[in-house]
Symmetry: C2
Subunit: 192 residues, 2 copies
Amino acid sequence: MTKTRRPGQGPGRPSSRDAMLDAAEAIVVAHGAVRLTLDAVAREAGVSKGGVMYHFPSKNALLEALVSRAVERSHAAREAQADKLPDAPARALHAYVRASINDPLHNDRVSGALLSVVASDPKLMAPVRDFFRKRLPAISEGVPFERAALVHLATEGLWLMELFRVSPFTRAQRARIKDLLTRLATGGGQVP
Amino acid sequence: MTKTRRPGQGPGRPSSRDAMLDAAEAIVVAHGAVRLTLDAVAREAGVSKGGVMYHFPSKNALLEALVSRAVERSHAAREAQADKLPDAPARALHAYVRASINDPLHNDRVSGALLSVVASDPKLMAPVRDFFRKRLPAISEGVPFERAALVHLATEGLWLMELFRVSPFTRAQRARIKDLLTRLATGGGQVP
DNA sequence: ATTACTATACCGTCCGGTCGGCACAGAAAA
DNA sequence: TTTTCTGTGCCGACCGGACGGTATAGTAAT
């Protein structure tokens, strides 16, 4: 099967590496991380396995790149929300809640699916741990510890439960929870 | 390699089936669910692979049994805590918090490690979803919805983050969170 | 003989990783 | 200009090992 070289794929910039990462994400979201194989990535990206191995010397390297991208995007999503919010004592916490509680974005689904595979490898988890460690003080700024921790944990709990599809809440209940978390993040300290 | 039959392992009742499940849990806890193979279970249980296949017609059957055991034990742990608590309006919620926030028990670690593998198979996740769906009304009894949900989510969030080893809290902070959740579960509705 | 269970050998498949080589684009040499 | 060399990006065949699953022979107790 002689494959004609597609136009725009020449020695042109590093575009195909990103295409491979996109393909990997598509696979992970569609079929779960279990089905993330080098062959599958190659097929999805319209590339040969050798081509994948050229850019990622091992499968772990591919996973590292995926984790790195996911972490960066999470960080960016929070900052984007913060930019949209007025300056207030608990802006960071509020932004975090808003970035986390939305209809699951692409990146959330990637993160959730990756978690399954990444969780069992401490080396791959390291950047994730770091991400969480740095995030806690960032979103706690200007907020009493207990309140920040509570909002953080509940938000993360909801996020994780939805990614694992075990959230027992109806859509209406979810909306009430979202309101409650926003209220807690922005000032009111009274829980019904 | 002729293995001598251990005493008490005859066709006798205590069926080695449970021993195999114990072995599977040990593997999952020690090396993660990725390394849970039929050969490994057989080796760990001191049994041949044929023996494993006799009791569990497929690997999925083994996983189903593991999930089932984990779910049942979680339920039992909550009930055990409830029995130790005096009758009060929010006894169920309080018991849930106490059962969840403790130094991670064996069953918690099993659940966490299993989650990685089970999450990608909707059929295996079904019992888990069911477990969560039934638990919500149980622990919400006699408590306003928003408070029950908040405590539930934060508790679950802490549980999941600790299982994935991404919890950014120090031991002291964890203690304060535990106190806060207990306070919220048992009446006080004021968050600092 | 039947039942309950164990042990071993084997098969097909899948997957990560290796390897030799091709195509192409400059840069260097002629 | 033409030729040669070199590096990059990619291809695709192949290997070795692991794993799920099958088949079958055997043992011990009822």
